[in-house]
Amino acid sequence: MTQVCRLTRAGGVVQVQDLGRKQSMHHGITESGAADRQAFLWANRLLQQQHDTAMLEITVGDVAFDILHDVRIALTGADLNATLNGSPMDGWQSYNLRCGDTLAFGFPRSGLRAYLAFAGALDWPQIYDSYSWVDKEALPGTPVLKPGGVLRLYQIQPHAFQTAVPTRFVPDYNEPLTLDLLLGYQAHLFPTESIATFFKTEFEVQPASSRMGYQLAGAKVAHEIEQLYSEGIAYGAVQVPPDGNPVVLLNDRQTMGGYPKLGCISQRSGAALSQRLPGAKVRFRGQGYDEMVREWDQMMSFLEVEY
């Protein structure tokens, strides 16, 4: 086991993430996991390691690390003005770092969450068979990475040639976003005009958005549906509370809720949404179930997630 880096500054949020917990929602334990699965999977692919190997999710930025051992890393997701010993770094590629290097992140130029993966396995406690954690759950044994904290790696992998994601596959988090939505079994409870309004409206991401959910505002999606009995909430669920402002629920969502739901956005749409900052504009378009599966299959097989 090798000490690989020390967190020296944490203005933004630094979390260890993998692809989240499984078989825990019936205990009230949220899914968690990397908010942008696409950027997460690319980072592990750049290092040619298991697709669900845990890494750091850095939100907003203003974070710095001292590198304590020669190590290979990959950087994907948001452009948070990363620098290596003061020199700008490009994202979506791997780097060979040396003991004594300083790796720093500034503030977002594009996107919100960067992924910093290490070639090797992180020494980090698992909760519910996952390396992901959620501060607010305060589960016993929840680890926190604070300034001064050190990360250690098992099976550290040697340096190798730099690899980079072909530029045509690098997403542009500044472009207007259209989210693919599968209309759900409760959509029929909404007035037809409200659904029409929903698909016509350009919504704006609100400041209160988080890994739990993205709050949107634009035209009100009017309805008079009363609170329903609480039921399980799927990733990407679009809830409409009585104020008519849709909320898109993501990784750290509560496991159950009782607000009416219009449907669910796709995994790829959720990943893209999680990279948007307050003020970003988003729209919705309908997607059929078969199309949603096709898109998911494409993403997974393209990113070589083991079948």
């Binding site: 825990s24 019936h26 899914e31 599968l182 669920a237």
Partner: protein, 229 residues
């Protein structure tokens, strides 16, 4: 029962089973036991291919691993089990006896609540601890169980103002539901007591039954002291 269920995809890998409720009817303890049993069977039978099951009141959310199974096979298993369950009248979940101290020092809303319901705190204690409750769902917080149905005499809406922090162990009421807060959390339910020992995730499953055993303050302090060790 199996014929009543409505099954619809909610996202790429998730389906929701819903059982319609009659107008004005409360969710039924037998149905939630069936849903809890179905969820257990799914997790046991399909193992890692069953990513999540969320049983609740009159629904079951089922998330599968699209890389290892097709929904048609899961749905076939569900229909088979539901048909089997129809010939069984009773499902035994686990029964939990939970000690609760109803001292108004710990039951932060006990005075206001009993006044609102035109009862004495002793009446509230007696009515609340006489019933056997069903676990209708687990969610909101890790280990938080929604229990019903609270006697109509104790049914009260959520507090007008939300508490920023409800102490861990608080036993509270909202409408026809009651619950124990497993950890300190914001909350708006009416707090009538406190349990000395906190539930942990995995303690409660949908379909289990719960009864509350009143204890006095000295007993509470002793148990709470023990549980801190």
């Amino acid at each position: 029962m199996s014929s009543d269920v409505h099954i619809a995809p909610v996202s790429v890998d998730t389906w929701l089973l819903t059982w319609p409720l009659d107008q004005g009817a409360l969710p039924d303890a037998h149905l939630v036991a069936v849903i809890g049993k179905l969820a257990n069977n799914l997790r046991t039978h399909f193992g890692a291919a069953m990513v999540n099951t969320v049983p609740a009141y009159c629904s079951l959310m089922v998330q599968i691993d699209l890389r290892s199974i097709d929904w048609v096979h899961v749905e076939a298993a569900i229909r088979t089990w539901l048909a089997e369950f129809e010939s069984t009248s009773q499902f035994a979940g686990r029964h939990h006896r939970i000690s609760v101290c109803y001292d108004p020092d710990l039951g932060l809303d006990m005075h206001e609540f009993s006044a609102l319901k035109q009862l004495t705190p002793d009446d509230v204690t007696a009515i609340h601890s006489q019933a056997i409750y069903t676990v209708f769902a687990v969610g909101f917080l890790p280990g938080f169980a929604y229990l019903g149905h609270v006697d109509e005499r104790l049914s009260a809406p959520r507090r007008a103002t939300f508490r920023a922090t409800v102490p861990a162990g608080s036993v509270a009421i909202a409408d026809r539901q009651t619950a124990i807060y497993p950890s300190a959390s914001p909350g708006g339910w009416q707090i009538i007591g406190r349990a000395p020992q906190l539930p942990t995730p995995g303690d409660f499953s949908a379909g289990d039954t719960v009864e509350f055993v009143p204890i006095d303050r000295a007993h509470f302090d002793r148990l709470a002291g023990v549980s801190m060790v």
